[in-house]
Symmetry: C2
Subunit: 247 residues, 2 copies
């Protein structure tokens, strides 16, 4: 079984259409390349109870959970409170984060106000993930990784974490066909009946001049993916096969 | 209270990073412009039980639910089955959809196979939404609107539906400020304390030369949004105000 992941995006600005999220699609691609199976994405508002419920379910249901957004100094930054409530821990100021904020604002001649100290808060028991590429460390607690919404910083922090999650990769064969999906369906059903563990996808194109369906055949077992692809290619009319790619 | 909505995207191809969804962001913008408050987006796999659980919760928790994806002729198209299970109804072939498919395949000299007839299936009691702009009608059951994943067709079908959902619009004032978010936080907390019903957002920019924070002040009550904006503008240093927009 592949390691499973859930992604929780926290932010009214996504739900109200003001901002288009880029972090979930990025994380899906990155985690897939690492061999991790993303099973769920949820986009929820900046509300502590809703965050707590979502994170609690995700933390119990999946091997690893990533959050994006809701960390910062203002009233609508409540992800830390929500995660803490999800796991039944208090919110505490982390001394290492307080020290880093003191240094940061001293260098800039600013004051360490309560609003700024909010950025030192973590759920009790949290781990800091430090790296020379990061101005402020990443924060994790149990199997929950708390990432910021700003895409550039999100990616910096994930880059530092990613090798923790690498495992057996998925092997993917894509078969592009010029036959309609409704004609192909019986072949795919038969293939899946023979190989129930195969990850089999079928994606029609309605205005693509090159092909009509892209079939994705995928498994962590390379031999299974390749033999299933060979079976399909042996059964569909050869004139319908446009091309085959692997990756 | 604004009418609330949930969006459920169904498709392994999104979770595995093969496809970047465009429908949720589109729908968030469209629904916001209609005055509808999107409260939740979930992206889930092509699995009947998971779809049923998600749709059941969304249908009970929100005024209206939109699904995207998982309608078609192949094994991984199980949205109809999931929605039917969510509401405790059987899956039936809709006679009007069977007739439309018969016409469609007769015109093309094709056969109406079982796989193709799958596209005539609906949860029992479903409503068809016909329009001259649509080749095949939209499908709705109770408060659940079942839309296809292909963005072009998704938009065609939503365009036909959208006037059903129009209500009082949100009034939005955006204030762009050159002060850091951590300095602004106290002003925003005070504003929210005076107007707990205000929708107040604060979005920092880290490498934007023009401004440091965009504050969004929003309400269905135009007078409330405008008076709150006036209060904020009266309190922050006037030199920090870059510009104000409305829309």
């Amino acid at each position: 079984m592949a390691k499973t992941a859930a992604i929780v995006l926290i932010g009214n600005e996504i739900l109200s259409g003001k901002v288009v999220d880029a972090n979930a699609a990025y994380l899906c691609r990155e985690l897939r390349a690492l061999g991790v199976d993303v099973k769920r994405i949820a986009v929820i508002p900046d509300e502590i109870d809703i965050i707590a419920a979502e994170i609690s379910a995700a933390s119990r249901g999946f091997d690893v959970v990533f959050t994006s957004g809701g960390v910062g100094p203002t009233h609508d930054d409540v992800t830390i409170d929500g995660v803490a409530r999800a796991i039944g821990m208090r919110v505490v100021r982390h001394p290492r984060l307080v020290a880093l904020l003191e240094d940061f604002y001293r260098d800039r001649g600013g004051e360490l106000t309560d609003a700024r100290l909010k950025m030192a808060e973590v759920p009790e028991g949290a781990e800091l993930i430090e790296d020379e590429t990061l101005r402020f460390p990443g924060v994790a607690v149990r199997n929950i990784y708390i990432l910021p919404g700003v895409p550039e910083i999100f990616r910096q922090k994930f880059d530092v974490l990613k090798e923790r999650f690498r495992e057996t990769p998925f092997h993917l064969v894509c078969v592009y066909l010029s036959m309609p999906e409704s004609t192909l369906a019986d072949y795919l059903n038969a293939l899946l009946a023979r190989h129930p563990d195969l990850l089999l996808g079928s994606y029609p194109e309605f205005s693509n001049p090159e092909y009509k369906v892209k079939v994705t055949i995928e498994s962590k077992d390379l031999a299974l993916a390749e033999s299933a692809a060979a079976e399909l290619l042996g059964q569909v009319p050869s004139a319908a096969v446009v091309r085959v790619t692997r990756g």
